[in-house]
């Protein structure tokens, strides 16, 4: 994680993290929490690699990925502002 601090007249004003925030839903929250913060990756395939290495239980669970509110079906480019969510299926009724 890279951290940039800007000084303004010696006064601290902002901390910008070069990374991505991933929102998790349903049973995935039990594995990794309701959100995880990771170093920036260029696309969703590499994101999955990082996530599965960090949280091996995720690899055993079914979920789909949404990037900027669109559920994706193939590898998708990410940028610093991408909003990524992991959505598992629910069965309860």
């Amino acid at each position: 994680m890279k951290e940039f601090r800007k000084a303004n007249g010696g006064k601290f004003v902002a901390v910008i993290f070069m990374g991505m925030n991933i929102i998790l839903f349903g049973q995935l929250v039990d594995i990794a929490g309701s959100s995880v913060f990771i170093d920036s990756v260029p696309d969703t395939d590499r994101l999955v690699n990082v996530l599965h290495n960090t949280y091996p239980a995720l690899a055993e669970t079914k979920y789909v990925i949404a990037v900027d509110k669109q559920v994706i079906t193939s590898n998708t480019f990410l940028n610093e502002n991408s909003v990524v969510a992991l959505l598992p299926p629910f069965s309860g009724g």
Binding site: Q27, A85, G93
Partner: protein, 376 residues
């Protein structure tokens, strides 16, 4: 029903802008089938009955239990042990005697779903397991019937509408192409659920149903809504139809009828591997392809039973050699054949029953030797 009493009962919704007598008439003409009269089904049924949906079918083969009452709001303590479908119908008829309510005490399966759904306009999925959810989805795609989907998990709920009018309409398999095993995702009985949540989600399902029938606003098609009852956050995700569907909706009704949905979502540990005795029994039964996924040079040779030799690396490109409804893969000790099961299941989906021989050919030969010693 007289126009005067119609006007009176439904007055508060008829006066809504864009609704009117026409909207009400559309509701009275509509036929809605609700699968599952549980946590989602009860509130959905109650509001659809109140709103005056003219014909409502209810399928549930369960009986009311004490631990249902905190969320399945149609039932009372006196109903414990009674059929949910029948008891729900009784309660709903008291709420609105002017509509037609048809209970089905049967379990919905792929053998009766097409027939039951046929005479209804909209299907509501209020079930509690993946096998039935995938089956209902496939039935609705094949019949081109709109499906209102809802599901809950602890403090979160999902809602969507699958219109099934054209190829561009997203269905459940476009969101979740791989059926999870029923034990892979905890259900309400295992993970718990606060009664209010299926109440909210069930009402959203009723709301979407009314929107489809009356044409007010756009229903939640090609979108997945997720509601979090703890944070009160609502998320909406846009959905696109899947481009390739190797293991998708069965192509036609005869394939649908042959699909084993229970098996599709059966727990993987119990169903991926079979032992030597089960394997022998399957061979005895016939209609089975046995596949040796070892490399050509590997020993021992196997000629005790018919088998097709496809090394693991070539399996994905050799699926045309597999024709029977049941498939057993084997290797030396049972590890590579587990990978083979995954490859084949991805390709065939629920069309075939696919197993791995536990312990591989080594374990099978040992078992046969042991059996011969016992006999002789």
């Amino acid at each position: 029903m007289s126009n005067a009493s119609l006007y009176d009962r439904y007055h508060r919704q008829i006066i809504l802008p864009g609704f009117g007598e026409e909207g009400q008439q559309n509701l009275l003409n509509a036929k809605v089938f609700v699968v599952g009269a549980g946590g989602l089904g009860c509130p959905a049924l109650q509001y659809l009955t109140g709103a005056g949906v003219g014909t409502i079918g209810i399928a549930d083969d369960g009986v009311v239990a004490l631990n249902n009452l905190h969320r399945q709001i149609l039932y009372s303590a006196n109903d414990i042990g009674l059929s949910k479908a029948e008891q729900a119908a009784n309660i709903l008829r008291q709420l609105n005697p002017e509509i037609n309510i048809i209970p089905f005490k049967t379990r919905l399966t792929n053998q009766n779903a097409l027939t039951l759904f046929e005479s209804f306009d909209i299907i509501i999925d209020g079930t509690d397991n993946f096998s039935t959810r995938y089956m209902i989805n496939d039935a609705c795609v094949l019949l081109r019937k709109p499906l209102v989907y809802g599901a809950v998990s602890q403090f979160e709920g999902q809602v969507s509408v699958f219109r099934n009018e054209t190829q561009d309409d997203v269905n459940y398999r476009d969101i979740f192409p791989d059926p999870p095993k029923n034990d892979e995702v905890p259900n309400c009985a295992q993970a718990g659920v606060l009664g209010v949540l299926p109440g909210i989600i069930g009402m959203m399902m009723a709301n979407e149903t009314i929107k489809i029938i009356t044409g007010i606003e756009v229903p939640l098609a090609n979108r997945l809504l997720i509601y979090n009852s703890l944070t009160n956050e609502v998320y909406q995700f846009n959905l696109s139809p899947g481009k390739t569907k190797p293991a998708g909706v069965p192509e036609n009704t005869s394939k649908f009828l042959k699909t084993d949905y229970e098996w599709l979502c059966a727990s993987s540990a119990a169903n991926e591997q079979i032992d030597a005795d089960t394997f022998n029994a399957l061979i005895e039964k016939g209609n089975i392809d046995v596949i040796d996924v070892r490399e050509p040079h590997e020993l021992p040779e196997v000629n005790e039973f018919g088998n097709i030799k496809i090394p693991l690396a070539q399996l994905a490109n050799s699926t045309n050699q597999i024709r029977s409804d049941s498939v057993v893969t084997f290797c030396q000790t049972g590890n590579r054949s587990l990978v083979a099961v995954k490859i084949l299941r991805r390709f065939f989906g629920g069309d075939k029953k696919i197993y791995s021989l536990r312990g591989g050919i080594v374990a099978w030969k040992n078992r046969v030797k042991q059996y011969e010693r016992q006999q002789g």
